[in-house]
Symmetry: C2
Subunit: 124 residues, 2 copies
Amino acid sequence: MTEKKRERGYSGFLMRQRAFLKLYLITYAEESGSYGFQALGLLKDKFKQFGFKPQHSEIYRALHELMEEDILKRKKAPKDDAKYQEIAVYYIHDRERAKAYKRLVKADLDRCMGILHTAIRDNY
Amino acid sequence: MTEKKRERGYSGFLMRQRAFLKLYLITYAEESGSYGFQALGLLKDKFKQFGFKPQHSEIYRALHELMEEDILKRKKAPKDDAKYQEIAVYYIHDRERAKAYKRLVKADLDRCMGILHTAIRDNY
DNA sequence: ACATGAACAGTCTGTTCATCC
DNA sequence: GGATGAACAGACTGTTCATGT
């Protein structure tokens, strides 16, 4: 009942970037408290080889959504190194919800792989 | 030089539906003269299992683009079976351009597979 | 119902602007 | 420059309307 989106105006082609980023942000939060700007850097590095360069605003929107969905929570904290700058560190809030969301995205990832694989088989 | 799109407003996440459909429409045109409504049915059937249901307008837009790009040409023709209804049958216009476009999309398909595979490896 | 096309409309997301350390 | 957030703006595409067989 929590996930009811994607009824109107969606034909079911490949998944949205938002969901993809949320998956990584949950994983990062599981591993250790992470924050937006850091995740952005990690993801940019990781996907550079694929020509995918996520934007900062999309990361923040994804984090905000994960909070609205009670999957993550955050604390404002001073940054480790010297400077007094405040960062927003994210943690898992509801582990069950997090797991459920990841299951959902896994199914979507598999679905997308199926679509792409079918196209390669059919057209080459 | 023909394909110069995707400079502004594109961060390089997964490919667009339009390109995906154009790939199939080229292949269908290679195999035999095909027309929009027929292709729509074939693709709906094929991807139903993946929850992907392409819309007719997107098919037609894709076909129109392929003509603008001089990859396909079309003839208006009466339908085979009885009825007098006229259909727009598409053929390959420039075989080289068609091949080039398919090569481009192949690279994009591989790129997308890489992104998805990376996410599965990293998060599960 | 088959078939094509175009206008309309809304979502996703990239760019820009703003703020603070 | 690091860090976050929000406003602005445009592309993609789904829905609807139109037209005819």
